[in-house]
Symmetry: D2
Subunit: 158 residues, 4 copies
């Protein structure tokens, strides 16, 4: 069994990928801070998943409707995050869905978390989703509208 696909986090750290990567903004909240005074590391994955659901809505597949219609599911099989700079209460962030790597039913997404003011990449996350039928959890092709949008993302750096 081969090693799973991974993006080059250090290349993704160099700077924001150009449009048409999907972007949204958010702010670090009071209750996302930990006892060390910075964003608790796992909350970055909350940010990334919120951004992913915004992306799904932007391509006409809002996740609440997908779940209600039992159209498909895309459970996460692997995630990883590289943290380059701590995030603090009040930091304005830009989230970027930077790249997608499609292999059959498996899609690996690269996410950049930037400080909005400096455009510096504070973290790079990767999430690997497997598209399956909601009943039986059998692998299925990536739905065409999603596939087209994944393929329209800029090529990953590195």
């Amino acid at each position: 069994m081969a090693e799973p696909f991974r993006f080059d986090a250090r290349a993704l750290r160099q700077g924001p990928v150009p449009k048409p990567a999907f972007r949204s903004r958010r702010e670090v909240r009071f209750h996302e801070i930990d006892a060390a005074g910075i964003v608790f590391f796992a909350r970055v994955l909350d940010y990334v998943h919120d951004h992913y659901t915004d992306f799904l809505a932007s391509v006409g597949s809002p996740l609440p409707e997908v779940l209600a219609a039992r159209s498909w599911a895309a459970p996460i099989g692997h995630v990883e995050v590289d943290y380059f700079e701590p995030l603090r209460f009040g930091d304005e962030l830009t989230l970027i869905l930077a790249a997608a790597h499609v292999e059959g039913s498996r899609v690996t997404l690269a996410h950049q978390v930037l400080r909005h003011a400096s455009s510096r990449v504070a973290a790079v996350a990767q999430t690997a989703h497997v598209f399956v039928s909601p009943e039986g959890f059998r692998p299925i092709p990536v739905p065409p509208a999603l596939l087209a949008r994944f393929q329209a993302l800029p090529p990953a750096p590195g």
Copy 2:
């Protein structure tokens, strides 16, 4: 429409109610802290609900089974919390289900959150649940095993 029932939070602040009130222990976690360096106030309700589910399990009605069997539901209609002392990372807590007030399908529970070391009451929470049928959400009597246990709690102080 009458004012809803409320326990006397200041009386509940005076000290832990005696057994057989239901007790459990927990510790304040690293990621429950907010940007002001204390437990985020809403997390106290997470503690209280975890303790409530432990109570349900202790009386033979574990909530995962109740939900799976669609036996009953008890959505929360009202909560309140009085905060007397801040909680900090590493604090050992004692949770006490201190009292229950039953009026038909509506049960109001009083919860004490103590610092274990000092037995001081750091917060008092109240949660009002309405027992309903899972289909139709019509009020139903409190299930007998639960009712008996609620009625066996010590009388509320105050």
Copy 3:
């Protein structure tokens, strides 16, 4: 010791208070749902606190700066929430800081949580803050800019 001030939650349920009440929008997120399939009740207080920090920023007192400058603190002494309708994944919400009741250093805020589509009030929350000096935690007057804005909110219904 007198009973603390409370707004009339049932009056606040009737509909959104008019402007210039402070408003923001947000959406129910995938990870805010509980095992019963609705928003976990305590998350409503996360929403309310985020909205409060947005309010502070809108009146020139962003909480990150307030904390860094140690200008003042306003710990929460009491909260309560009345839940009228469950919230579900994907629901678009409007948060309204609806009213403020000032008694010396103590400010009680009323918050409405509306479903944006229907303008129905799904929950009403109340948070009581005590303004104190960051050192020593002695009660202090409400900072003038905040006080003016609190007093400019519409009178509470009921």
Copy 4:
């Protein structure tokens, strides 16, 4: 710059490593579930971090004291998780700190998340910490008591 060290997640999936690996128990909570009805994937990292702080306490370095004394800090530079089976409300879990890989100031920890009933490994997480001085954030040697305990963990499988 070389690829960072990684444990073999598939080898760690085969079964629990033997003692003296550090173990603790916990239960999946009502509010850790997401809109798809399983544990939100990022909460597994909350579990893992709680277990890590329990480990630190067990070796005489409770994190609240470490933070208060400003003895050292060990910010997380990289995490990854492989998810093999979904976790559901009420599942009893065993957390195992399974292995440690030390390279100078950098320690990579392997964590197994098991269903207690079946001893099946539902997830494997890896967290890479860099030990630094709390002032200046310069790399420092791993504190000796911690280093000894890390080195006493069983060799990683695979």
